[in-house]
Symmetry: C2
Subunit: 244 residues, 2 copies
DNA sequence: CGAGCCGTTGAAGTGCATCAAATGAAGTGG
DNA sequence: CCACTTCATTTGATGCACTTCAACGGCTCG
């Protein structure tokens, strides 16, 4: 835990933030802090890594070495048990912090699999820890990132425990739309990066049911789906349908 | 955040630990640390509180003031959304730490309702925070407690997303049995403190289905249920049935 | 002791899963 | 570049697990 704060990085960044880092939750850790709250300018990024479609960023059981900031692309996060049951807990996209599932125990509890070729920033966890010890404000920010993960869990619990299939799908689409919006893309037209199988698993349904529900939503002119191309035509109706 | 470490408590404890505190996860915070790891002897407990059956320990939306160590009794923890959907996330019993759901945001996200008259120790959260800052080992222990909560969520996600009703009930019974065992009670014979309605909600089912499944399990001689009295007659078969 | 909640059981309905098969898209190797 | 394989998606037909509706009996607690 006595790791020095400044690292010999394989790639250090110049004075200005590299493009794409503006929305990064941990930019303050990676780069010289501009807000005066950090105790020292640091550049903790060891390197970036390209993760090809289908490959894992990390796997359940892996020791926690790094956290990952998803710079581009998207992944599916999946939790499994010994019996082989799988549940996809979410589909983070650019800007998301990956690996916090391991923060508490030191071991990853989930698989994170790239849905498309994706780029991640690698953040040595020891650096994050050290920074947390030195910078209480940063620690609180970091806590808030963990909180976001847990809130996602709670929301999914409500979905899986209480909703009917149409409500689940509507809720899912709204969620994806919000995510797109947060990333600066159109919330009305976007392409789904995951398979129907993945969606079905995530929502506790079967593939065929997902297809049929999407079909019905299209029938009702709420959406326009063709393959993975999605157009949301009536956000409000969807939101209504998704139980608030 | 500059709260002093030693508190004028309405009840301070004598040299020996009060009975029941041996298994308390935060005993090191409440009492003089005996392991030499803590920086100072502290007694953070302001007081204990009796929570009557049906009354809340805290409610979603409440600002985080205290954490609560459940000393005796049991509660149901419930998360809700604006649409009024409710999902019971668990049924903690004696020894459990309540309120960590609020640690990340500072606001409680769940209701905790007593299932029977219960006693809780009140731990001002500011004290816990202060202790975390001063005592890195304690902070890690505390982190581990939060981790336990999150693991519960992940486990429940698998249950709700993947299992059939019989598997859910079996899994639930095994879980309750383990909990009883952890509290020093018989894992084979115990009484359920929650209603069938609560169980059904927790498992994403309907009351009638819970009854029928319990009936079937009894038929198969795996359990013996009468009202809330439960006897587990074949743990292994149950465990098998519960997907691992 | 009686009112109301809780638990159980039965009968009927349905939402979703299962099984099966066709089409379309994407990847592979010659 | 095309033939072939493989996977993803969709649609239909059927079945069943679970829900829904309804009624009753037993606790429990004022």
């Amino acid at each position: 835990m006595d790791t020095p704060l400044v690292f010999s990085s394989s790639r250090t960044w110049p004075g200005t933030l590299p493009s794409g880092c503006e929305r990064c939750a941990l930019a303050r850790l990676c780069h010289a802090a501009a807000d005066g709250l950090s105790t020292a300018p640091v550049s903790a990024i060891r390197c970036r890594r390209l993760v090809r479609r289908g490959e894992p960023v990390f796997r359940a059981g892996d020791a926690l070495q790094n956290l990952y900031e998803l710079r581009s692309g998207s992944v599916k996060v999946r939790v499994t048990n010994r019996a082989g049951l799988e549940q996809i807990t979410g589909f983070p996209s650019a800007g998301a912090l990956l690996g916090v599932d391991a923060v508490e125990t030191g071991t990853h509890r989930c698989d994170a699999i790239a849905l498309e070729d994706s780029m991640v920033c690698i953040l040595p966890f020891s650096d994050v820890l050290a920074k947390c010890r030195d910078d209480f404000v940063f620690a609180q920010q970091f806590h808030r990132l963990i909180a976001h993960d847990i809130d996602q869990y709670r929301r999914l619990l409500l979905t899986l425990g209480c909703m009917k299939t149409e409500e689940r799908v509507a809720d899912f689409l709204i969620g994806m739309s919000d995510q797109m919006s947060a990333n600066g893309y159109s919330p009305h037209v976007f392409t789904l990066k995951m398979t129907r199988e993945d969606i079905a698993n995530h929502l506790g349904m079967k593939v065929e049911t997902v297809c049929r529900v999407l079909g019905r939503l299209q029938e009702a002119s709420l959406v326009n789906v063709r393959r993975r191309q999605l157009e949301i035509r009536d956000v409000e109706a969807l939101r209504q349908m998704s139980c608030g």
